[in-house]
């Protein structure tokens, strides 16, 4: 993940106090980050992908019939998993391993809550591009998390 986002995330974590204040500060922070990323992405645009994305994307995971070759792990109840420290640590670690642009997009989406419209406007990319990149992010994250048992083992 980029330094900007890492710093922002760390600083954000230090915002104590009332949630309204935190919400307000987060909004300011989000605007500043979006400004920065907007400049970065304008200078060096993301490689365009077709509406169907890259057909080869993650092809090796699937057999000739289009089904998963390795059955995905059963991660159990998502809400319970999302409260487990070991899993949260693993998620953070895997997000940090994402390719830079994909990580930036994913964090804007899942930490700062930007929706497709905002992401398209702020980063000058198309909706299908946003969706393909977020799909890639999620597929990379699930592969990364499966390496540590997707929360079902003590490893982490």
């Amino acid at each position: 993940m980029s330094d900007v986002l890492t710093q922002a995330y760390e600083r954000r974590a230090s915002f104590a106090g009332r949630s309204s204040l935190r919400t307000w500060l987060t909004a300011i922070l989000k605007n500043r980050i979006v400004d920065l990323l907007r400049k970065q992405w304008r200078e060096q645009p993301l490689e365009p992908v077709g509406d169907d994305g890259d057909e080869q994307d993650f092809d090796r995971l699937f057999g000739a019939n289009g089904h998963y070759l390795d059955t995905p792990l059963d991660s159990g109840n998502p809400a319970e998993l999302a409260q487990q420290e070991a899993f949260l640590t693993a998620v953070q670690r895997c997000v940090e391993k994402l390719p830079k642009r994909i990580g930036q997009l994913f964090v804007l989406r899942e930490v700062f809550g930007s929706d497709t419209d905002e992401l398209c406007k702020d980063l000058q990319i198309t909706p299908s591009n946003v969706w393909v990149q977020l799909y890639r992010a999620r597929m990379m994250l699930r592969a990364c998390l499966e390496q540590v048992g997707f929360g079902r083992t003590a490893a982490g």
């Binding site: 994305g53 089904h67 995905p72 999302a82 899942e110």
Partner: protein, 60 residues
């Protein structure tokens, strides 16, 4: 053609977290999940990732 592959289903699972799917795609995905344990697990994995990010976001 109502049948879709796991690869297509996985893309739709991610896409529906961003925008509502059209009726046709929604039906195809539903039928696929009905018979496919693998994609049902992927759906739960995607949900766990989103909820974990939410937990991290709401933390002080």
């Amino acid at each position: 053609m109502l049948r879709i592959t796991c690869q297509q289903a996985s893309r739709l699972l991610s896409q529906r977290m961003e925008a509502p799917l059209g009726a046709g795609m929604r039906l195809r995905l539903r039928l696929h999940l009905f018979v496919c344990d693998a994609c049902t697990r992927v759906a739960r994995q995607f949900a766990a990732i989103r909820l974990a990010m939410q937990t991290l976001r709401e933390r002080d």
